[in-house]
């Protein structure tokens, strides 16, 4: 016997319309909304400026010109100079590199480790899940800065030690959210179906569960990035992170602090504003991604 069932005309037409894929820009706009897109645009400008600092920065960020110290905005120095006469704009551009790269590394490490732990916990369940959740809860109870300080105490102050310490501190933030999402997916029939087909646990985790929690992983990573920027800047402000003379926004707030009392707030304010701007952009984008990731479920 042969099949005589043809798909109804109506569905074919509808499918044809749906197959037209929207462009990347349109997709991004739909996910982020107006404010989120604006934040993404601002962040993109900051990132581009930071990346191209070696080419675009008007001066060497570390070159002191004591004769021009604490100068106000001029045509030569649009944002003025600091106490050592270094160009603030150039230092901002170079400093943004460090301020973005450090937290970026923190989030990358903690997301990879946290997601892996979460997926293992969700898939294995039982005792494995209990132990992993228990460890995560302990990590959760300790503030991120404390991990950074411990790390500094052991390996000495530097950007990398602080990044390592914070990466550990951020693992539970990622893992907890992802574990919850992965457990939800795990209980859906399509995962049971894959299991019944005879797919391996690893296979199911990578081909079934991970693709479905991936929007949540990304949203959580971006949201945490804002906190990491603040934490890292705070540690640098305390003098335990990035070491002078390297330009870093947290460090600039600190070194600009003394100049504020002498009536030259330019360095501290410009660095502080840039930190706030970066954190705001990242937080807004993270929020939008989180709410779209939720509404997709």
């Amino acid at each position: 016997m042969t099949l005589s069932i043809k798909p109804p005309v109506k569905t074919v037409k509808r499918a044809a319309v749906e197959l037209r894929q929207p462009g990347v820009l349109q997709k991004g706009y739909e996910r982020l909304g107006l404010v989120g897109t604006a934040a993404a645009a601002v962040l993109l400008v900051i990132v581009l400026a930071a990346v191209s600092a070696p080419v675009l920065a008007p001066y060497d960020p570390d070159f002191p010109d004591l004769l021009a110290a604490l100068g106000g905005p001029t045509a030569e120095h649009p944002l003025g100079t600091d106490a050592l006469g270094r160009d603030i704009l150039s230092r901002l551009m170079w400093g943004a590199r460090v301020t973005l790269a450090g937290p970026g590394l923190v989030i990358l490490l903690s997301t990879v480790v946290g997601t892996a732990l979460a997926l293992v916990a969700a898939w294995c369940g039982g005792r494995v899940d209990t132990v992993i959740s228990w460890v995560l809860d302990i990590l959760f109870a300790v503030p991120g800065i404390v991990f950074a300080l411990i790390s500094v105490a052991i390996w000495g102050p530097s950007l990398l030690t602080v990044v390592a310490g914070l990466a550990v501190a951020y693992v539970p933030y990622v893992a907890r959210v992802v574990r919850g999402a992965a457990l939800r997916e795990r209980n859906l029939p399509y995962v049971s179906a894959a299991w019944l087909q005879g797919q391996s646990g690893v296979g199911i985790t990578f081909t079934q569960i991970l693709p479905n929690v991936q929007p949540i992983v990304i949203a959580q990573a971006v949201s945490s990035l804002g906190f990491a920027v603040i934490d890292l800047a705070s540690v640098s402000f305390l003098g335990l992170g990035v070491q002078p003379p390297t330009a870093d926004l947290g460090l600039m707030v600190k070194s600009g602090f003394d100049s504020v009392l002498r009536g030259h707030p330019g360095e501290a304010i410009s660095a502080g504003v840039l930190i706030i701007l970066i954190v705001w952009c990242v937080t807004v984008i993270g929020d939008r991604l989180t709410s779209t990731a939720r509404s997709m479920r």
Partner: protein, 283 residues
């Protein structure tokens, strides 16, 4: 025929989104007389649920609704907030597919039944409770006094649906809207709930708008049927089940397997949007 209670005239609903406008109700007209039951039958996406939401003015604001919905002479589509509240709470009563989603799980059945009447109509709690007990008994709930102190999760689906019916009757509406009230229930519970609904609305002379995908069930419980397809009513009247005239209705009835005989193959619906448009153009 006696006086009409609810009359829809050429009701249209267009959904506006950023990219496009979709017309989902394309001129729905029907009326329900006082004391009459009308079965609104259609498959998913036919617009039957949208129609009920239009009648209760609960459509999303993204819909542009036109036409006229008149309830006992009053135009529903132009009601102000106070009128609308009054209309929703006193004139119509609603029963849904999933009763559990419409009760607050932390309130007892007694609170659920009495709260609205005590708070908004200023009736004494004892009096309402007495009436609730009588009504629960009438809809076939055993030990009604004890039920008042129970929580929704302690009741089965069929039982909860009876409580919903009692709560609707308690408010003494003139029209009951029942949206797939038995779809989530077992067949025996379905038979019960429909029997109770039928018996109660006849005894009280209420009108009923029964929304369902089940033509046979609607035919057994309603005086007239209206069959929807693609946001339109293709056929309505008392004849629909026994002697359907519209090709869609005929095919829909034929596609349902029968409990009495096994067919070699079930007839598959050939009716589609193209045929639908063509038929409309010819008419």
């Amino acid at each position: 025929m006696s006086e009409a209670l609810l009359t829809l005239t050429d009701v249209r609903a267009v959904l506006h989104s950023r990219h496009q406008s979709q017309s989902l109700l394309n001129g729905v007209s029907f009326s329900i007389a006082k004391g009459e039951a009308l079965g609104l039958v259609g498959e998913s996406g036919s617009g039957k649920s949208l129609t009920t939401r239009a009648v209760t003015r609960m459509l999303d604001p993204a819909f542009e609704v036109s036409g006229s919905i008149s309830f006992d002479g009053a135009e529903v589509l132009s009601m102000g907030p106070a009128e609308l509240r009054n209309y929703r709470s006193r004139d119509i009563g609603m029963i849904f597919q999933d009763p559990r989603a419409h009760v607050n799980p932390v309130h007892t059945v007694g609170d659920f039944l009495t709260e609205e009447l005590v708070r908004n109509r200023g009736l004494a709690r004892e009096e309402v409770e007495q009436r609730a007990i009588t009504l629960l008994d009438e809809v076939g709930v055993r030990y009604p006094e004890r039920r008042l102190t129970q929580y929704p999760h302690e009741l089965s689906g069929g039982m909860l649906q009876r409580v919903m019916i009692a709560s609707v009757l308690l408010a003494e509406p003139r029209l009951i809207l029942a949206d797939e009230p038995t779809t989530a229930l077992d067949v025996t519970a379905q038979s019960d709930v429909m029997a109770i609904l039928d018996e109660q609305r006849r005894a009280r002379g209420l009108s009923l708008l029964f929304i369902t995908h089940d033509l046979e069930l609607a035919a057994a419980c309603c005086e007239r049927l209206a069959v929807m397809y693609a946001g339109e009513i293709v056929e309505q009247g008392a004849h629909v089940y026994e002697s359907p005239r519209h090709p869609y209705t005929i095919e829909l009835l034929g596609a349902r397997p029968s409990i009495d005989q096994r067919l070699e193959r079930l007839p598959v619906l050939q009716y589609n949007r193209d045929i639908h448009e063509q038929l409309k153009a010819e008419a």
